[in-house]
Amino acid sequence: MPSLRKFPVHIIVLLLLFIAQGVLFAILFPAYQGPDEQIHYGTIQYQAEPKEKDWPLQEPTQIQLFGDVRTYKLSEETIQSAYLLQFDDLRWQKENTEYFSQTSTGIHEQAIAQNEWKRYIDTTSHNASGTKSFYYEVGGWIEKTLSSTSFFTRFLSQRLLSVFLGALVVLFTYLVAKKAGLSLFESILIATLVAFQPMFVFLSSVVNIDVALILSFTIFTYATIWLLKDGPKIPPLCILFFATVLGLYSKGPGIVLAVTAVLLIVFFVVQYWRKKDEKFFWKLFIGVTAFIILASLITPKSYIASITHLTTNSKFSSPAESLVAYGKETLDKSAFMRTHTSYWGYFGWLDTKISNTVLTFIWDIQAIALLGLILFLITKTPPEYLPKKRFVVFFIIIILLLQLAIRFFDWRVFDATRQILIGTPGRYFLPTLVPHILLIITGLGFFTKNKHQFHILLKALTLGMILLLLYAVINVIIPRYYL
């Protein structure tokens, strides 16, 4: 890891700017308007509860209704604040806004700020998330630490946790690009591309666990590039292990990192076996075994069961029938376009999207990049200023594995319910944003003739991404919620 003084001033400025825009996003989105944000915040409050529940628990008296947040089984503060903030009026209701007062103080603001509502769940069952995530742990600690402050300060602080994790993603993007052999200048531009991707900035500014997963994937990518570049060494292996544990302890798809880590280590084992480096082979063999044993020990069985749904009863006569039915539901152009849209900019409760014209333009750029990428992979002498082929292959593999994992989980739920309950919103694929951006750069960069042209291309793409973010803020998000 480079020391702090080795970081160029540009990346520090970029991180500060990212934090400023993250805070701005955290302010612009009304509370609870991130996807499932009421559940995530409610879970954090649940996490912050004392271990000894010395208050009476009662049976829930109401059946949970989809359009009525008051029927959720979360803390009284979460429910009441969401209700007064018109949660149900705004969620998925793109034509509605809050009821505004004529001043800078909202109609119910005092009531929410000075509330004495219970901050704990007092029902025997609850809607808090069952996912074990370090995000909730840290959030719970923040909630306890700031317990004397107002609801708005605590809620914003939780969102700032996402901003902080997002800033780390930007930092690691820079390190990934540098490690992949790109120059300082190119690495800063690639970090800027990620820092201004609108959907990533959105997820980095609302209360959610996806941003934790994005961070673990990015750190994992950094470790892998290091390993692929310099061979198996202790520091990148430690970072790889750390990123894998972080991923598993972030959200379900973190399992992809464990699978990729095993594949990676097998790759090195085979490579050293072929070189007949017996001593190193045995070291690696012991390393792999230790990794698998350790991973099996720290991964709860309930976790594996929950992400695979292996114990649920299928609604189909055979897995083949189930898969065909799932394919019919999800593998069509409109489903891909929905995923594409919510990957680039479908804010709030997927009710505030960037325009189709912009999305088509992005789609076209990616199509050209894909063509370039194919040519890059089949050519024997690709431009030397682009990332090495082995890095590109890794980027493709990790993207495919995440796609497979998300769609597998979605299928398992479909298999048990005959309904698309989870879906494949684009934000689920943002953990591989950094490999994706690097693949686009590589694909488009293949069409450049020299490094100078490659720099112009990078500059144009980065400026385009900056414009995309400004457009999202000024023309989409502000009008949606305030005009």
Binding site: K94, N96, T97, F100, S150, L457, L463, I478, P479, Y482
Partner: protein, 236 residues
């Protein structure tokens, strides 16, 4: 392998491209900058009203403030063909004296949820009743499912509001099309102040009012400077 591709971008071209982008963003922002009535929302069931050729819909509403300058109206499937248009007009309470009109054509950019019908602000609009008329004109016989659609509340929950479907000759009392009258302030700074006030509501004290303005300025200025650095920089 490298495909022959000549690119003659220069920093100047990048700068011009970026400035065009900023201009368009600013232009579309000003198109939207008006403050709608926010005291009611559309909840519950919704009716879809497919526009019929030359069969206007008329919505009556009362302005709640002075400086009425925009009407936000929800128009779905706004994919007009060349030669087609939707005429919007704002008239006085009698629906006879047209104050302002505008037409939407196939060249009109796809709106974000609401189409914004802008017009010069009416200074003394408060308390007065106005009449919004929407007329679809087309030389084609398009199928019902291809025609633009308006949405309306299906329950009688909007007291005092009403709309009239001339094609069906039917008055819908205490119901409204999904639309909001919107108002502006006397100056651009006044508009910014009101926008800041709206965003400040329900926010942590540090980022209300001036705090928010400073944050937004840092973001905007920082982003523009970063863009400028990217345009002008060269790798050493």
């Amino acid at each position: 392998m490298s495909l022959p591709l000549k690119i003659h971008f220069t920093p100047l071209f990048l700068l011009i491209g970026f400035c065009i982008g900023i201009f368009l963003i600013t232009f579309f922002f000003f198109e939207k900058l008006a403050f709608p009535d926010s005291e009611y929302n559309f909840l519950g069931e919704t009716d879809q009203i497919k526009l019929e050729k030359e069969s206007p819909l008329t919505q009556k509403f009362t302005a709640s403030e002075n400086n009425l300058s925009q009407v936000k109206i929800l128009i779905e499937k706004l994919r007009l063909l060349p030669g087609e248009e939707i005429l919007l007009s704002l008239a006085d309470h009698s629906c006879q004296t047209v104050l302002v009109k505008k037409s939407i054509t196939f060249l009109t950019p796809e709106p974000h949820t609401y189409y914004r019908f802008n017009f010069p602000s009416i200074p003394d609009s408060q308390g007065k009743e106005y009449c919004l008329r929407i007329t679809y004109l087309s030389p084609y016989d398009r199928k019902s499912k291809e025609r633009p659609v308006l949405e309306a509340s299906s329950e009688e929950q909007f007291l005092g509001k009403s709309f009239f479907n001339e094609g069906k000759g039917k008055l819908y009392q205490d119901r409204t099309l999904k639309m909001h009258p919107a108002y502006s302030n006397d100056s651009f700074l006044g508009n910014l102040q009101e926008l800041t006030d709206r965003i400040s509501q329900y926010k942590a004290p540090l980022f209300k009012g001036a705090g928010l303005a400073i944050l937004f300025s840092i973001f905007l200025l920082g982003t523009l400077l970063l863009a400028l650095w990217i345009i002008l920089s060269k790798e050493r």
